[in-house]
Symmetry: C2
Subunit: 306 residues, 2 copies
């Protein structure tokens, strides 16, 4: 029994009789093949990638597992349709907070048709991509006190300025996330989500090292999906902070050249994340309190994670 995914933040949504991805509730994600060349292109990427012996395991884990294609009943009621069957990496997660970040200042391969390039150039100029080297495609931030979450529309987030991006990233790892981002985020979970040997920053840096070297694939209009579980963080448990690369309808061969467009955008994102950790660590250091005060401080939410 396939159903609409709860934690999808970007792309087409299978709602109101529209065509979109489905999940089986036991770990598989069914993505309908996109129209035109894009569907075929994504299938051939997954097929080639899953067989590619040049991809080291510590990098392969950042990609969804590929289970082939399958004809399943489409969400728009149009009958059987070919779907990519992929790992559903939000399966088993409770209220994951998610960011979908489209990487690269340029979202089109140089070989693309002129008309397609023109469309992308316009989108890139109107978004954060050109200036920042990446843009948000989707966000879902859970708050800790209510069952609600903040899930803004794509149009409202893809043109964020550097300051707005920083604010969003700080809110992502805060215990006081507000729906309109109007509060000063406390960055309570910054060190456990972004920091540490298995945190988001470490994972992004591993990915970066691979992109500095690999000349096999160039990824255009592809996203990094960043997620963790706030409830776990709040309980002092491992918050399952994880990145996954998604959306491969515009992957082309590298032909001996690194993917400088992706790498540049990735480094820009890394810089934003590093700055938040740097500031958080500095605040912690300057917040060294006298012994008595320290005890009280330790009991606040801030103190627990700072």
């Amino acid at each position: 029994m396939l159903k609409i995914p709860e934690n999808q933040v970007a792309g087409h949504f299978a709602r109101n009789g529209k065509l979109g991805p489905l999940v089986d509730g036991s770990g598989r994600f069914y993505k309908p093949l996109q129209g035109g060349d894009r569907g075929c292109s994504e299938v051939s990427f997954y097929t080639s990638f899953s067989l590619d012996g040049r991809i080291p395991d510590h990098i392969r884990r950042f990609f969804p597992t590929f289970y082939g294609t399958e004809l399943v009943e489409a969400s728009d009621g149009s009958g059987l349709k070919s779907h990519l069957v992929l790992e559903d990496f939000t399966a088993g997660r409770v209220n994951p907070s998610i960011m979908d970040v489209k990487i690269g200042s340029r979202t089109w391969p140089p070989q693309a048709p002129e008309k397609y390039i023109a469309k992308c150039v316009e989108k890139d100029h109107g978004s954060s991509s050109l200036l920042l080297g990446f843009r948000f495609s989707g966000l879902q931030f859970h708050s800790i006190n209510e069952t609600g979450f903040w899930k803004p529309g794509k149009k409202s987030i893809q043109g964020f300025s550097a300051d707005e991006v920083q604010l969003v990233l700080r809110n992502f790892v805060s215990s006081n996330t507000s729906k309109e981002l109007e509060l000063k985020p406390d960055c309570a979970f910054a060190s456990v989500v972004f920091g540490g040997p298995t945190g988001i920053l470490s994972q992004l840096l591993e990915l970066k090292a691979w992109f500095e070297d690999q000349t096999v694939y160039h990824f255009f209009s592809s996203s990094i999906h960043i997620m963790y579980e706030k409830q776990l963080a709040l309980q002092g448990k491992n918050p399952r902070a994880e990145i996954k690369l998604i959306d491969f309808a515009h992957v082309v061969e590298g032909r001996g050249v690194i993917d400088h467009n992706y790498l540049g955008g990735l480094c820009s994102l890394i810089k934003f994340v590093s700055e938040i950790l740097k500031v958080t660590n500095k605040e912690c250091q300057t917040n060294v309190l006298p012994k008595d005060a320290q005890r009280d401080h330790d009991m606040s939410v801030n103190g627990t994670y700072c």
Copy 2:
């Protein structure tokens, strides 16, 4: 007494009554202020950069020293004209081999006028920039046996493919550089020019580390000037391998974002250089000869540098 520089490889040339840069023969380079906003823009970059306390010394050394502006007799006979007075970093060098590499897949700042962007987009598409993240703007390769050198025109080199770029970089550090690059380059000087703690690769990596962090300046249409002296390398002396950043008519403020366009192109260039060193080192390792043969091998030019 100002004269035409001997070792200029790119830009406008002060020849045949044209306007171009001049040198005083004792270490200063006079660059006429470019037309339109570009002249002013370059002066204000040099002024701001020379006073900028945020630039660490190990990075500042990669930029030409700035001595202000001065009215001097222009090379085209048009009378006194304002010139940037810069360090002439080829002064005192004998037959330097030089590469001028324009960094970035995009050579225009997002804030530039539409007409200028359109012109640059066309140039970038027609050159290596879009695919490789950089392009050659000028080359001057000395051969070791003759006084001649290879100095191809800009048009013939700026559209080089990945394979051609690799061939050029290999020729740059070879003892058997031929004018038409038709021989198999021996990469005899690869390890002493590209490799080692003070070699080109180390310098590029220092620059890269800075670009991963700095959010002060974004450099568009700016070049890295790479040079060394082949005669010194041949004599087993320090070949004075050095990089210098040049051309700052299109520098804009970073406003809290890294220069992902420059960084991506720089990483692409670094990958090409690293590959040559990797192959050279591997060839050396597999070229381990029996003792007697080794002695003969040591006496060949290859053996000396391999």
